[in-house]
């Protein structure tokens, strides 16, 4: 068992090293990508500052609380992009038949198609998110129990993110459609950038119980602010586990129907 973990970790390291080498080949692209992302985040900060310059509370949340939601969303979203960037490159692999070569290797295909292309540019971005978030937590005097709960629920959110990405891969095999699905996922998950109760019903219910964006992006922030009930936390843990299991079943189903396109 331990040997398998070490082998998988070595392969993950080598794939990440290759991804870094490829990224660094286009240095101008790196600069523009980073600038674009930084400008986008700064604009949202500026927008929030502008809103809270005119009003003290939005739907009962103060500026710091809204920032906790926003930063938590960014941490989860960016971690997803760091780890699962390879999913964005899955369609060409399926339509060209290159996925065949992945299936022939004596390792789990997820190591290649899910984790095989770590995005180091997003690693650079997630570091400041962590710093700012923990700076705010320090100012808010958060208890260590709430801190532990927050980290646990971030991991729980990552399980959901994983489930969504596995489903996208399975859909890619079944339909060769990945690009639009991943964009729809990005747009829907962006609904969780701010607390879900800024939306009205039935939108709020839809994004909590049907597509659990709220559970994925909001629950860690709600927990650390003391706004989530134990039952709601338990519910989110169960939903993430269920989502992961369903995505794995969908993956097995899709793999049996894989037609190996491209000759």
């Amino acid at each position: 068992m331990m040997k398998t973990y070490i082998k998988n970790a070595t392969i993950f390291y080598l794939l990440s090293r290759n991804a870094l080498k490829i990224t660094l080949q286009g240095r101008m692209g790196v600069i523009f990508f980073l600038l674009g992302k930084i400008i986008r985040v700064l604009f949202i900060f500026a927008f929030l500052a502008l809103v809270f310059n005119r009003t003290r509370l939005v739907k009962g949340y103060n500026f710091e609380q809204i920032l906790v939601f926003f930063l938590t969303f960014n941490i989860i979203d960016t971690l997803g992009q760091i780890l699962y960037r390879q999913v964005y490159r899955f369609r060409p692999l399926v339509v060209s038949g290159g996925f065949d070569m992945v299936l022939l290797k004596p390792i789990h295909p997820f190591i290649r198609i899910l984790l095989g292309g770590v995005d180091f540019l997003d690693v650079l971005l997630v570091i400041p998110y962590f710093f700012v978030t923990f700076f705010i937590f320090a100012k808010m005097e958060i208890s260590s129990f709430h801190m532990f709960l927050y980290l646990l629920l971030i991991i729980n959110s990552m399980v959901m993110v994983t489930g969504f990405h596995i489903s996208i891969l399975a859909l890619g095999i079944a339909t060769t459609e990945v690009d639009h699905t991943i964009m729809i996922y990005r747009d829907l998950s962006a609904m969780g950038r701010f607390p879900m109760n800024i939306y009205k019903e039935p939108v709020r219910g839809f994004f909590t119980y049907i597509i659990p964006v709220s559970l994925m992006m909001n629950v860690p922030a709600q927990a650390i602010l003391g706004l989530a009930t134990p039952w709601f936390i338990l519910f989110s843990l169960l939903i993430s586990l269920g989502l992961l299991c369903l995505s794995l079943l969908f993956w097995d189903y899709a793999l049996k129907r894989y037609q190996s396109w491209g000759g």
Partner: protein, 321 residues
């Protein structure tokens, strides 16, 4: 080693009616039977040529044998494994080299792909060095190991595909069109390599190729598949014996002669000085050779087998008539 029993594979494809609304909301499907109840066995250390026209089911068979595709029905056993289960212990013993697929990292030198392959197959350092050394020497490609793959020619890339694909010394190798798109020198190099590798490692090899010269030069046994069914399974010499109706007599002339003089031999020919190629039915060979030697001013004369492509064409004509 490989046993296939009543293997069937059906592909489902979207049937288009030409009506956008119906195509989107009331989708119908066609079922295409790519393989229909095929059965065969391949023993240890065999090199089998697997041929057939486009869409006959060759690649589908190899993909099922290697575990890429899930069979619709039938039984497949490779080294006592069920391929689709994709057990790592099974996958470590096989290799699938496809002329039209690339497993090298396009932007990086092949050495990076080799290092990754070493980790995936858990190859010890000294074995890794030895295997890389042997394979690159066999293929004469040690000097391109550190060149980015995107800068390699097609022939060089295919050589590196072979080095990466066979690094773990597999016991079973599926070659799918390994010489496709290569010039004659690269084709020859790849053929020589496969022959030498198989004789040294005693691997079991299944080879598909549209260049039947590959199959003729490498395989002793031939499986011909057509429309998803096996139509021939036997020795290559047997099919040549059975279906080769003509011999090629190649005559090199000493001086230019008129076409009328060649016509008197009384068989089909093509003539571009100094060569005449006669196509002579086997039964009339001695008589016609005698006539050629008596009436034409030649400096050289050779008798060759009909091209394997022509023999296979004759075979297909006969089975379809």
């Amino acid at each position: 080693m490989i046993t296939v029993n009543n293997l069937t594979k059906i592909y489902k494809t979207h049937k288009r009616n030409g009506n956008f609304f119906k195509d989107v909301f009331f989708r119908a499907y066609n079922e295409l039977e790519a393989l229909s109840q095929i059965s065969f066995e391949i023993g240890n250390n065999e090199l089998v040529g697997f041929i057939g026209p486009n869409g006959a089911g060759k690649t589908t068979t190899l993909k099922i044998l290697s575990g890429i595709l899930y069979p619709t029905s039938g039984k497949v056993s490779v080294m006592d494994y069920t391929p689709f289960e994709k057990k790592p212990s099974f996958l470590k013993h096989i290799a699938f080299v496809m002329g039209q697929r690339n497993q090298l990292v396009w932007d990086l030198p092949s050495r990076d792909s080799l290092i990754l392959q070493k980790a995936i197959y858990e190859i010890p350092e000294d074995t890794y060095k030895k295997n890389v050394n042997e394979l690159t020497q066999l293929l004469h490609c040690a000097d391109i190991l550190d060149k980015p793959v995107k800068t390699l020619s097609q022939g060089q890339r295919m050589k590196m595909e072979l080095v990466v694909g066979l690094l773990h010394r597999p016991h079973i190798i599926f070659f799918d069109e390994p010489t496709i798109g290569l010039d004659i020198f690269s084709q020859e190099a790849i053929r020589d390599f496969i022959r030498q590798y198989q004789s040294e490692t005693k691997a079991t090899v299944i080879l598909t190729s549209h260049y039947l010269e590959d199959v003729k030069k490498l395989a002793k046994r031939l499986i011909i598949i057509d429309k998803g069914s096996i139509v021939y399974d036997g020795s290559l010499s047997n099919i040549i014996e059975q279906y080769s109706q003509e011999k090629l007599v190649v005559v090199t002339l000493e001086k230019v002669i008129k076409k009328k003089e060649i016509d008197q031999i009384g068989v089909r020919f093509s003539y571009t000085f100094p060569k005449i190629i006669f196509k002579i039915p086997k039964a009339r060979l001695p008589e016609k050779i005698k006539k050629i030697t008596q009436s034409l001013p030649f400096s050289d004369l050779t008798v060759e087998d009909e091209k394997i492509e022509d023999i296979v064409k004759t075979f297909f004509r006969k089975i379809n008539s």
